[in-house]
Amino acid sequence: MQNLKYLILLVGFAMVGCSDLVEEPVGLLAPDGFFKSTDDIQTAVDGSFTHAINEKFWGRKLSIALMLRSDMVDLASNETRRVENNEFTTLASNGMISEFWPKTYQGIAAANQAIAGAENVDVAEELKNPVTAQAYFIRAFYYFHLVRLFGDVPYIDAPIADAAAAASISKTPAAEVYQNIISDLEYAKTWLPNTQSSRAIPAKSAASSYLALVHLTMGNYDQAFAEAKEVIDNAATYDLALEPDFQVLFDANQIDGSKEPIFALDYNNVEAPNNAYDQIAPMTGIRGDDRNSGGGWSVAVPTLEVYTTWPAGDYRRAVSLDEEVSIGGTQVSFTNFDISGHQFAKNNPYIAKYTRFPGPFARGNARATSHNYSMIRYAEVLLIAAEAAVELNDNASATNYINQVRARARSGGSWNDTEPSAVPADITGTVTVDDVLEERRYELAFECKRWYDIVRRRIGDEVFSASGLEGEKEFFTADDYLLPLPADELERNPNLTQNPGY
């Protein structure tokens, strides 16, 4: 009897424990159970968007690579990774590609996570799909860069579940990637609202405008025209218009109030960890410039020809380039920019779109601006419509759209209180593709659009010849229209093949 009591006591002691050993983390960001509300989808969407502002993407590595590869921006540096992009001697080990390749895919992975996570959110479609649509949009945005840069690429559209299988996939053909981009943008167009509280959050017009650009790039001119025209015809609904003063588009203090940007990147006003901030301004700035706490680093600098061939009466030249600044307390014209004594200082007008009004939050060298750079703006949509109209032999539309852009360029503006000018004159005869490309070159100068224009129109042989803006680029070949995939990525997945010529 007595012993039974002890036995019960013993069993009581021994009863503790017995677990399925499954970990249930609290306070840690684990995917299981994370997605419960539309806010959670938005959190993942924000993650995807914020990769784009990183120094490894638009903050420097991709934007500067796109500038250097074009004929509008030359190099003032001997850094190998930059020389390789400027001179078309790019190696598969290039130090800029190795940065923006993973960063682009990190943006895609976050978007995939948002899209997959949205399926677990038990909320009506009308409420959650407009949020998820942002993820579709940004995924298309990233893949559109990839497919234009690299052609065929690994296409991932869901969170990695089977790492071993995903590590041995082959590249998806560019045509298929384009179809996926279009389908993502169509979804975005369906669900995004007409307007958003910020141009850095995509609205329906952003999806349509990108669809227009994607179709233009693919040579689907009728679809490109239709999409662009839809945006133009609904400009009031979408709250879009050309900004009267071109300078406002490149002023961090004013840009957020403008109706012209359709989709912009939301630049933090903090020097966030992990280089998640803008460095385009320092890269394009003038050495010794008394502005911007220490001037710029003078790396991406246009040749003198960019300036001399640009019609002087075009207000956009005055906004796009700095001809005169104060260096070490002395006001000097560009012919004396080398008084800074820096080895790479150039006596050329420097890019002014980023350094002139970087905003109140810019740190030293105009780093970490809060300047929400436009990825696509209304003027470009007009030019897409014009170019597509030319291809569709609709000269009336082409003339109408291109001249809207040209008119704004002649109307002067706040910079140096520029008066309206007649130069360049409106186009009156037949608009050609070259006319539109030339207009794009001026309108979108240094906005990282030019390289993609050169690629899609295959005009490298012409623009990189001896008569080009940067003189002859002797190493340029048709293979350079595509970049090499990073060499170490091919080692990690031997089923990936390198692009020709690398």
Binding site: P25, A30, P31, T50, P154, N268
Partner: protein, 1011 residues
Amino acid sequence: MILRTKLMLVGLLFLNISLFAQDTRVLTGTVSDADDFTLIGVNILVTGTSRGTSTDFDGNYELEVSTGDVLQFSYTGYVSQTITVGNQTELNVTLAGDAAVLEEVVVVGYGSRKKSDITGAVSSVKSEELNAFPVLDAAQALQGRAAGVVVQSNNGGEPGAPINIKIRGNTSISANSSPLIVVDGFVGATMPQANDIASMEVLKDASATAIYGSRGSNGVILVTTKKGKSGRLSIELNSTYATQNTANELDLLNADEFADYQNQIRANNGISTPYPQGPADTDWQDLIYQSGNTQNHQLSLSGGSDKVNFYASGNFFDQQGIVVNSGFERATFLSNIDAQVNDKFKLGLNLFGSRGTKDGVTTQSDGSVTVGGDDVISLAMRFAPDKPVQDEDGNFTTNDVIGDEVDNPFAVATQRVDETVTDNFRANVYANYDILKNLSFKTTFGLSSENVSRGVYQPSSLQITASAVGGRASVVNTKRTSVLSENYLTYTKEIGKGALTLLGGYSYQKNKNEAFAAAGTGFLSDAFSYYALSTATGLLQPASSLSETEIQSQFGRLNYDYDNRYLVTATVRRDGASNFAANNKYAVFPSAALGWKISNEDFLIDNETISSLKLRVSYGVTGNPSISPYQSLARFASLYASRNGQTVFAITPDQPANPDLKWESSYQTNIGVDLGLIDNRVNLSVDYYNIDTKDLILGNNGIPEYFGFQNDEILTNLGEINNRGFEISLNTKNIVKGDFRWSTDFNLSANKNEVAALINDADLFGNAAPSYFSHDRSYVLRVGEEVGLFWGYEYSGVYQGGDLPAGTQTLTGGVAGDPLFVDTDGNGEITEADRTIIGNPNPDFTFGFTNNFTYKNFDLNIFFQGAQGGDIFNMTNVQLNNGDANTTRDYFNNAWTPTNTDTDQPRVGNNSNREISSRFVEDGSYIRLKNIALGYNLPTATVEKLGIGGIRLSVSAQNLLTITDYSGLDPEVNYFGASGDNNTSSNTVQGFDFGNYPTVKSFNFSLNVQF
């Protein structure tokens, strides 16, 4: 039932009457061993009663007895004797050594074995050795005492610094290599006070540790605390007081020499402006060092009846460090109660609690604090000596002329507040029930909790660190709790000549860690210290976290002894752990061992010389639970994002799920011989072991980047490490003659470590230099080599100008007087490719050597301990020879000048820029007189007059003498490196010296009183 009770009452009455009827008298006597050596503390009990006593320091006892009483004399290691009292008043007893030492009982996991029946590699350390001199952490007392066990403080003599133990080498690269500590059966417990420990067993081979499965591969230390003995109440007081000083200071330049030095540097670099010498001549080392002291007081009570016994002790430890403002204070209590409830049922309770308060001065730094400096000892070496402590305005001076801009060391030591309070509590209940005569069930249930609270305040008087922000405060609280339930059956059976013991059980443990941290800057007053975070004008991001792990296990063991000649041990444990990855939740760890008592064979049993000889062989697998909680789960990372101009938190995929990640496994073979000669007066144990550790977890950046994870490393089980070596321990009783005894204990261990596999077998580099050294590599892991070899340039003397000696080059722009390096790849310049292995911090062997002398009431203990063959990288000299800091007289006087060309020291202000080269690699071998202690037991006659059981006085000195060629402060170096901290021990960062808290020289007085 009623009838029986009545009968009992009658019986009791009768007994009482008979007691009264008998006249009691005092029996006295002496208990000694076969060599006439008196035995202290022999337990004497009148059987069937709670009356008893124990022998005093002279082996004498006195006890009230009656004729016919049955006395039991018992003493560990001796055969107990039972004597019925006759008419005598004096009874002298001689206890026979029960095959003396070999009959010691050794605690093993979930049980105990006679030492002679042990088949694994187990070292026992006794209470006397642990208490030979006062230590803060009982783990320190293990140093040099057990073969194969290397003990090192994480920061020299810093009061309260964590102690790092390694058994049989580094068995991992990234996971913890510290052994599992089990206190009275509680797995993962805090080490009790040394005075409270009865014995420590170090389990080394797989046969001994596999019963602890996935936590066994680093070895296991089993700690048994003191228990009460039946008999009279024993009260014991231990008091020690010690004074301490730094064993060493560097010989640095004074202010005038320093100005001279700086001017020479300027001249060598073509600068004509003279160094603006400051007004003072400050010896910073003198300012930060002081004479420290330690006191330790312990009061213990023990005793009991034949059914219940108890032990309780309280302890107070207080240490003032040798660096101003550093100190440690701790109060501990421990109590053990055991009750034999009835003949089948036994209950027990262990309680432990402690509070430790550490006043810290940061003496080491990872160098990541780019402004201010936070490493007092290195600051005291490098700070300009021509600066006063305070300037004319009363502000603390800073290093603003040369070198890095830092606060002065005196300011950092005296102004910065850094207090860590650690509370520990543990309760463990057990119940043992004998189901059958040979089958018993034991269950234990325990709880432990540890709360650590650290507050740091950097006042605005620290010009560089905190003045601009108006003071900086932080508070970090961590709380760890553990619940453990263990339940097991033990079955014994004699089968003919064989004896079988079977053990089987189940265990469950849950650990929970919570942490909270908050910090702020800009306070109204420095007087608030870190207690007024709410008044901070700048709040830094708070942090909190939770992690939980569960481990549930089944285990079993078979012991079979045939004819006291052949021994078999087999164990197995199956561990399931929540932190293990999804596809590998359970792990099985088996082991087996064979023992052969050759001395019990016919051909040896009568041998006069060989009294015991045993051969042991074992093999088994153990694990290292190297996967941290949640490490194998898919994870998101948080990012700053901007949305509508507001900063928001966003997420992005950080790492994929890693469901196949496994624990690290050690496959260990052990072969050992135990030999006893001449009645076991000479005991020798030799063990050889080989440990192959596989599935080491390493970061592999082999996942494609198009996966889009932030973290490009994925952990894989790809590394392998081998450790093999010898351990020898020799105990001899050299002289046993009358009042004089001399015994010697010697142990030596030699471990050879080898990296056997890495990812793609590619070299793994790491950096231990403080981050402002701007190096990315200072050590290497290479397949076929030992872990953590120094990596840098091969120094080949000073460039004398003219033609370069063949195969050497200077760094770019080298001129006469600059250092020369071996141009390994012969390309005509010194580049990254010229770096090579320049030193090995792993010692060839470590040893401990103890001599004990006893003469009458005196005893003398002399303990040497040392290491042979490990290199040290003297990073202190890298910094001090760089020109932008004070330097040693040795360097200044020997540096190359056009008139002093016959030297191996480059010119001052040379172009080497803190290079990592063999110039700074030194031999770190040493022999240290760890302890010398003289004890005296007051004669019983004297003591008895005071009514006291015994008094012992002793004086001792620690670290009195160190023989080494190492030029730095202390050869026991332990700089934690660029990414380390004071609380972690790295497997790969070894042998670097940079601003460690020096080992202290200590003089100690102790008093022990027994009532």
